[in-house]
Symmetry: C2
Subunit: 337 residues, 2 copies
Amino acid sequence: MENFTAYNPTKLHFGKGVTDKLGETVLEFGKKVLLLYGKGSVQRNGIYEKIVKQLHSVNAEIFEFSGIKSNPLVDDVSEAAQLGKLNNVDVIVAVGGGSVIDSAKITALAIANNTDSWAIMKYKFKPQTTIPLIAVLTLAATGTEMNGAAVLQNHETDEKIGYVSSLNYPKHSFLDPEFTFTVPKDYTAYGVVDLIAHALEAYFGEGEASLSDRFVEVIIKEAMEYGPMLLKEPQNYEYRANIMWAATTALNGLTNYGRKSGDWGVHDIGHNISYLYDTPHGATLSIVYPAWLKLHKDRIPERITKLGKQLFGTSSVNDTIENLEKFFKSIDSPIRL
Amino acid sequence: MENFTAYNPTKLHFGKGVTDKLGETVLEFGKKVLLLYGKGSVQRNGIYEKIVKQLHSVNAEIFEFSGIKSNPLVDDVSEAAQLGKLNNVDVIVAVGGGSVIDSAKITALAIANNTDSWAIMKYKFKPQTTIPLIAVLTLAATGTEMNGAAVLQNHETDEKIGYVSSLNYPKHSFLDPEFTFTVPKDYTAYGVVDLIAHALEAYFGEGEASLSDRFVEVIIKEAMEYGPMLLKEPQNYEYRANIMWAATTALNGLTNYGRKSGDWGVHDIGHNISYLYDTPHGATLSIVYPAWLKLHKDRIPERITKLGKQLFGTSSVNDTIENLEKFFKSIDSPIRL
């Protein structure tokens, strides 16, 4: 086992009605709120109204920035940061999935350090401080609600890249599984793929970490059991809840403790595909993972076989890859470009 | 799944040589250190010397309290708190297993609130603050290094009871598996039993929590795989590391998220046995758990069978219990009074 530090400062509130505490939580940090969200879907499904009601209940002053894309752009972050700086906001409330919350993390850094968002992403400027971020999650997928990572793309420099900092952890995250009831089937499936891919990136990383391997295996089992059931019953609370919590645990540190690092090769390729074709992130991963496994099967045959044994009861590399493909196909996530 | 809050503020440093950062970590909080430990074993095995060297390296002023018993007493805590108050210490460094760290948690509360330790334990006084605690773990067992629980006994009131508070989390915990190399075989085995029992208390608690169940199952599998190997090779770093990390994860929240609560009936009985006969905590649990399962087997047959299927590949309640007994016997932990 490699040396590691286990530390996760996010306070995560999970369950039905948890955003009833959002207003009082915001007050811990101040009254001037930068409210970030993406498309109008949060307005159509009533989540926006619930959040704004909470903010009004504590007389918060709201500065709103919306329109964050599902493959989020640094330009939007820079604009949001400008709005935040201009109005001297105390706290960001980000309502959405990975795109919105990732954007909010960099917005918070850009505001607190009065600096350029892309300079942060490229590690050219090293922030020492940030402003508090409260996340309200509406999509189970990326795990951003309980980690320090953010991914953005830049059309000027032709890049989609990730940035990791201990400053990025949300202070609070609110996860109400009911908030994901209206996520369409395709994005529900991509979320399941994304969480499986996160667990796999850890599994195929460097270093021996027995218990972390076991955590990876059961998180994927959970996703493979409840993912398909959820696609049949998108409004089933228990299924939504199980997938939502599995997605958080797949990338909140747990699967990685005791390793040197995860692999992240598949995500790198996936980001490039998303950049080129604006493909949903999860969909790129179900395409790339089987291909990546085929490419690396002579380098890490035991590891792939161990995974297959745990997940599918198989005993060969090829059977493992085939079963993984079959699973992705079964939930209608693409496996070829 | 029940609503829950996932939050654990402890920063846990795991691996070979991690206490090399102890000195600078202490300085985050101040220079006046109350150093708590138990018996002279930390002096014999060189750990005491390493810790004191770290404290001297940052010119810390050390106030020492030793002699904490393995079934820790509130009287010792009160004395330690007096020493701490008298000298206005900034931080506690607790070097030991569960007894020492649990004692340190209540000592910290008693110092910060200038109040009686037992009043805290009995929830008669509700502390609002504490002083920082840094834990250096020398025994893999209780999980106290990353949770808010403490257990003490009181010979005046004839009680051994637990106290849980969010103030109790150590600020930092240092877990160097090498620090457990000299733990004797019996206490190594009791530690393995203790961590399994913690996972089981969650498993048999109230509420459906699918992923937490899976975490329980793999933590116990890890313990059942590496426990016996460790007893054969007590100085094997990987085995010590795997058991140490398993013990932390068995009671740091992970196994309980999504449940109403754990059961904790077995621990309650175990505490009473320990109180009456001064039996090591882990040894009481391997005695009580099989008996408890027999008592409850008609109430929760599916749950016991599910556990047995995962751990032993069995398919009946009786086979599960029998196999659990066999495991405890195999590592020489008692199964009868």
